[in-house]
Every structure is written in C-alpha cells, then in structure tokens.
C-alpha cells in the first residue's frame, strides 16, 4: 500500500523530495533571477549604451569604458574610496578588537559597558549624519571644543579637503560595535583549558595573547576584514549627507559618484559602467585578501 496517494505514488522518494525542496527554495531562486540576474543583464546592456532615461538608449560600443580612462573625476573618486577604506578598515579592526578585549572581563556591571560600546552602531545613518555634522562643526562642534580646551587650534574638519576623510574615519570608529560583538563572541568561544594549560607552563599575559588568543581569533579577523572592505567600499549615506562629496570632491566615494552619474547627470550607461568597475575592484580585492591573508588564517578544525 503506497503511503501517499495520487501524484506521490508515481514518483520515487527522492523525486518527491526534490520537488518539495524546489517549492521551498523557490522564492529565493526567483529572487536571484529577478533582483540579481536580470539587473546584471540590464547593467551589461547599459554599459554599451548611452541613455539619459528620456530619449531612447543609443548603442555606443565601448565608449563608456573608454570614458572611464578620460574621466577627470574618476581618479579622485577612486583615491577617496581607497584611502577611506584602507585607513578605516584596519583602524576599525584594531579598535573593535581592543574594545572586545576590554569587555571580555568578568566584573560586575560589564553588561552596561557592552551596551554603551554597541549602541552607536545601531544609530540610524541619517541621524548619525546630522549628529556628526554638528560634532565636526568648526566653531561650536564638540571635537573642536575639546581640541581648543587642550590648547590646540580649530580643525576645519568638513571644510578642508585634507581633513574630511579623517573626519569620516573618526565617525566610522564610533560605530564599530557590530564587529566588536563578533570579536567578543570569538573570544568567549576560546576554551578556558588552553589558557589554563598555558598558565601551568608559565605563560604570561603577552604570551597567551600572542600564542593563543590571536591565532584562535584569526578567522574572525579575516571575516571582519572582508565584511569591512565590502561595507567601506559601498559607503554612501554618511558622505551623501555630511559632505556630499566635498570639499573639492575629496570625499566623492565611488557609490556616491555612481549615484550622481545616474540620478543627477542622468548618464545611466556610464553609471552602470562605474558599477561594474566597483564590482571588479571588490572581486580583485577579495581575491587578494583570500589568497594572501586567508591562507594565513588558523583554523582549529580544518574542513569543519
């Protein structure tokens, strides 16, 4: 007697499973088709066309790609994006690891400190932007109030092309709570027995850090590094609101430039070409990170 009637009885168990499987993951597959595959094809189409949204798209061959090399703003935009990423990501890693070490102690009330360090990272980007525009205000902003109080001179944070990126880096450091929590979870996952064994062998604080904590945490450093680069290369909302790319295009990050090319200059073809450029940069960067840093990561259970 077949357990299931009708359709089920004519199919094998594995066929039935496959049908059920695809019904369950169906929404995801459709999502990939609609919101990844089709956009990718549209972007490919746009790359070879010139289109201002109003008149019909015009085929231009490789003109958009050639335009990349002649665009005077692009080197500036790339430089701003790279400088910001390569400064903010490593500093953010170090700072969030430092905070994670601090809150990984057993003292009463530590939960309050964990909350305080984490909170900035959930502040909505728009509110964050307004708050920090005020913090960086040259005359009355809190940072310059402190700097002047300590006898320094006012820093024109958002007016000077040389200070705008440092300002954004300071802001990014305030919001490292997310990676801090990931580090904390990693630290708490290191078995106590390792430290106990090391202590019996006479290892000091520094030796335990160097030979247990850091190697055990290396996969998490790696993870936070990759996520950090992916996020920082796509920074948009904060620069859009705080500096709007200025002063003198010193913070014209790539995504902001894509946004402007598409929605201000209405150069859809060129904007799509810039998107591909961003994609390739992140691909190459991920490749380098995986090849040169990923191979140095220590995994406790390889192949797990």
């Amino acid at each position: 007697m077949p357990r299931r009637p009708a359709l089920g009885s004519r199919l094998t168990l594995s066929q039935r499973r496959t049908i059920m499987g695809y019904i369950f993951i169906g929404p995801f597959i459709l999502g990939v088709i609609f919101w990844v595959l089709i956009p990718a094809l549209v972007a490919l189409y746009l790359t070879f066309h010139s289109w201002n949204l109003i008149s019909a798209p015009r085929f231009v061959g490789f003109a958009n790609i050639e335009a990349l090399f002649r665009d005077p703003l692009l080197p500036q935009s790339l430089k701003a994006t790279f400088v910001y990423s390569f400064v903010s990501v490593p500093l953010g890693l170090i700072f969030s690891f430092f905070l994670a070490l601090l809150i990984n102690v057993r003292i009463p009330g530590i939960a309050i400190f964990r909350t305080i360090f984490y909170l900035p990272s959930i502040v909505p980007a728009v509110a964050n932007a307004l708050l920090w525009s005020w913090m960086f205000n040259t005359e009355f902003g809190l940072l310059n109030v402190f700097i002047r109080g300590l006898g320094g001179s006012k820093i024109p944070w958002l007016q000077d092309p040389g200070w705008a990126i440092p300002a954004l880096v300071v802001l990014s450091l305030w919001g490292v709570g997310g990676s801090m929590i990931i580090f904390l979870a990693g630290l708490q996952g290191i078995p106590d027995i390792y430290y106990e064994a090391a202590e019996i062998d006479g290892a000091g604080r520094w030796a335990k850090m160097r030979y247990i904590t850091l190697p055990m945490m290396s996969p998490i450093f790696f993870f936070n590094l990759v996520i950090g680069f992916i996020n920082s290369f796509q920074a948009f909302t904060l620069v859009y609101l705080i500096t709007d790319g200025g002063p003198q295009n010193s913070t014209l990050f790539l995504v902001l430039y894509i946004y402007r090319s598409a929605f201000t200059s209405l150069k859809m073809g060129y904007a799509a070409t810039l998107s591909w450029l961003l994609f390739f940069i992140l691909m190459v960067l991920s490749f380098i990170v995986f090849k040169y840093i990923g191979s140095r990561v220590y995994y406790e259970n390889p192949g797990d």
Partner: protein, 299 residues
C-alpha cells in the same frame, strides 16, 4: 593541521622558560587598569549622545555659545514639537511603518520558508543553490542600484512603496536565510520524523513544528529587518519622489538640503529618530547580540 600550527607551538615552547612571579599584585593592577580604561572609553562613546540631547534642548542663542554649556538653560522642550511639525513627520511615520511592517512580514515568512528547504530537505541541486546564497551574501548591493532603478521605472513603480517592499518577498535576503538555516539545523530531526509518521506534510512540519520552535531566531530576523527598513535612506531617496511618500529617514535627510533649518531643530528631530531604535534595543538586547553573532551582519 597547518604548518602554522606547529610553528606557533614551537614559538610557544620558547616562551615557556621565563617563570612568573608576584602574579597577585600584577593581576590586581591589571584589573584596575582595565576598569579605568573601560570608564574612559565609555565616556568617549557616550559623549556624542549626551552632546546630541543637550544641543537638541538648547535655544538658538545658547547652541552657538562658546565655551558650550552641557545643561541647557532654559530647557527648550518645544524644539521637539517644532522639529516634528516643521515637516509632516506624522505622515512620514505612517509611510515608514507601512514599509517596515511589510518588510518584516515578507522577510520573516519567505526567509524561514527558504531556510527550511535548505536545512531539512535533501534534494538534487541543494548544495549548488546554497552556494548561490553564500555568494549573494558577498554581492555588493551598490552595483545593482542603477539596473534595479531601470527595471522598477519600466514597471511604473517609481514613487510608490513597491520597490522598497516587493523584493523582500523573494527569499528575504541571504543573511536571513543563512541565519535561519543554521537555527533550523539545531532542531532535532526526530520531531519532524514523528510528525511525518502521523501524516504531517512538509508544509505542516515547517509551519506547526519549526516555526514555533524558531521563535528566538525569527525575532532576531524581524528586529534586523525593522532596523534596516527604518534606517534605509538610499532606497527612499532613489524611489520616493513626492514628499507625501517620504519615510522618516527621507524627511530627516531633507532637513540637510534646506539651509534655513536651524541646528536645534535638526538635532531634536535626529534624537526623535534614534529614540525608537534605542528603546527597541533595550527590550531585545539578547536577540541583537544573537543576530550579530550568527550572521556577522552590519559593519
């Protein structure tokens, strides 16, 4: 095991020689150093919040006073009512809540549905598709901005909530599928087998057994979906044109483009936008932490 491992073991041996002594004093000192550093860092991290609230309650005269005062005198509560009526924030809040609610419903249901398939059904091609899930985790969203806009404008969806809502119904994001799949895999398979023997279908198992058991993970997903939708600016800026359709984030952002909005109002409105997030955080701390740890979400 890698050569790295043996290398660090050898290096470790070298370190064993120096003996420790007077550990007790050293430990106490270290503890105090930690506490002091904690307090200093906490003060630094909290300072912008205190400064924000303080500035948001100042008069226009006092906000431009040097050296600044920390406690406003007089305390101007009316900054808040002025800021929130300067633009129709009631309407913006309504728009935001529509988008947020639809996002949360869409993501919770479709991501758990897909996650069940990945976690509990063994079928041909599953590993391939799960690989695609992982790949889209790393897909930079920024590269689809332009083509997505073209597609949505062709569909006539610009200046509606549809571009901000409909995509969420298709899997609800790789992060959430990944998180829920991990969670589903921790639920004992025997529960599902018992239900199968009783004649329960896969849909029944998903809906009546897995969903109730996965409540903590589902709440985590719901909270992060809420936050993302509440905080999102890029989507509203691209797709919402008429001010009547603005979200809270878009409304607050429009303060920046109007030169005559004074700092006290900008900061009062910012505080008002942060407040619900902080309240949400205090009521659901453990879900936040769980979500962060399980997905590594948010940079």
């Amino acid at each position: 095991m890698s050569s790295m491992d043996t290398a660090s073991e050898q290096a470790f041996d070298v370190q064993l020689a120096p003996a420790r002594d007077r550990r007790g004093n050293n430990d106490l000192l270290w503890r105090w150093l930690t506490v002091i550093t904690l307090l200093v860092m906490a003060a630094i991290m909290l300072m912008p919040f205190v400064w924000l609230v303080s500035s948001s309650l100042k008069s226009q005269v006092q906000i431009f006073q040097y050296p600044p005062v920390w406690i406003p005198d007089p305390i101007r509560w009316e900054n808040y009512s002025n800021a929130l009526t300067y633009k129709p924030f009631g309407l913006y809040l309504r728009n935001t809540m529509i988008i947020v609610t639809l996002n949360v419903v869409a993501v919770v249901f479709t991501s758990s549905f897909c996650a069940y398939g990945f976690a509990r059904i063994r079928f041909w091609g599953r590993d391939f598709w799960f690989g695609i899930v992982i790949a889209t985790l790393f897909l930079p969203y920024a590269i689809t901005i332009v083509p997505s806009f073209i597609i949505f404008s062709r569909l006539g969806w610009v200046d509606t909530f549809l571009p901000l809502v409909v995509p969420q119904f298709f899997g609800g994001g790789a992060f959430n599928i990944f998180l829920l799949r991990q969670f589903f895999r921790t639920i004992p398979e025997e529960l599902a087998d018992a239900a199968r023997i009783d004649g329960c279908t896969e849909f029944g198992i998903y809906w009546r057994i897995m969903m109730p058991l996965a409540k903590p993970a589902l709440i985590t997903v719901a909270i992060f979906t809420f936050l993302n939708a509440w905080n999102d600016l890029l989507g509203p800026v691209i797709y919402l044109r008429s001010p009547d359709n603005f979200t809270v984030a878009a409304g607050l952002a429009s303060f920046r483009s109007v030169q005559d909005v004074s700092w006290d109002l900008q900061l009062a409105a910012s505080t008002a936008m942060i407040l619900p997030v902080i309240v949400l955080f205090f009521f659901s701390q453990r879900y936040f932490i769980k979500g962060i740890v399980m997905t590594g979400l948010k940079g």
